[in-house]
Symmetry: C2
Subunit: 159 residues, 2 copies
């Protein structure tokens, strides 16, 4: 029978390449392994799409196995750090709400947003990437990132 008493809080979780990369980038930058920082990393590592600071706060509050609350101020600070290190992609869509998601090389995608209910859906398309890459080379900007958002009505809101 397994003995969980040594670390009753942290469930055995599988981490991705992104989590590993983020951890070492944070360590290299001199950051410590604080509780909120680890929780945010863990959470973002397991999301299919972008979350706002408020959504992250709520997710952490209701998280199993132990409800670990984190102050919103800490969450904002940590999101800023992660973005500055290039570990997060920022997404602004909707009413001035900023959302973040893990920036993965192998998980690059864009977004569909339902203008009625606000649902955010990720999608990817190779041809779109190729086209954007070509376009990026002939514009008056040294392009480092790009972002595509398709607005419309999702299936729930269409019916």
């Amino acid at each position: 029978m397994a003995d969980y008493t040594e670390n009753p809080i942290v469930a055995p979780t599988k981490h991705s390449d992104w989590y590993a990369r983020a951890s070492s980038a944070l360590a290299d930058a001199g950051y410590r392994r604080g509780s909120v920082r680890l929780a945010v990393l863990e959470l973002l590592d397991n999301q299919p799409c972008a979350l706002s600071a408020v959504e992250i706060e709520e997710a952490l509050r209701h998280r199993a196995p132990a409800p670990k609350a984190a102050s919103r101020a800490s969450i904002y600070r940590i999101l800023d750090e992660l973005e500055a290190l290039g570990l997060l992609a920022r997404l602004e869509v909707g009413q001035g709400i900023v959302r973040f998601e893990a920036a993965r090389e192998s998980g690059h995608h864009h977004h569909l947003i339902c203008d009625h209910c606000g649902t955010l859906i990720p999608f990817r398309d190779e041809e779109l990437e190729r086209t954007i890459h070509q376009v990026s080379q002939r514009v008056a900007l040294n392009v480092s990132e790009h972002e595509v958002v398709l607005h419309g009505a999702c299936s729930d809101c269409t019916s």
Copy 2:
């Protein structure tokens, strides 16, 4: 010698199709020709790219020939109306600032944003439009609008 005394405020200005379309759409919706509404219409009709509410307020304050100030509250209300009528395209990029620009069929474009100085530059590309149109037909959303933003460093900030 021309007599300007009858209407000393309004300079003789050339209006676009968009202005005409917006005017009649507003009239059809039952809106009156209030001073701020007309000023915002006039201003947006002559912009190369998107403006925020604050930028609009300042532009109206410093506008020739007569400095006509408009309260920010009115500007926000009017921008909401125009957006609801589909006359404006909304653009969110940067620190939670929302910008608007006239939605013209024949002036559809996307944006380059310098992440250092915040400069916004419009661009257009036919192949990109074709690709997005194709992609729009195979995603799980009834797509009505789309938006592409390329992030990077402009020539001023690169040097």
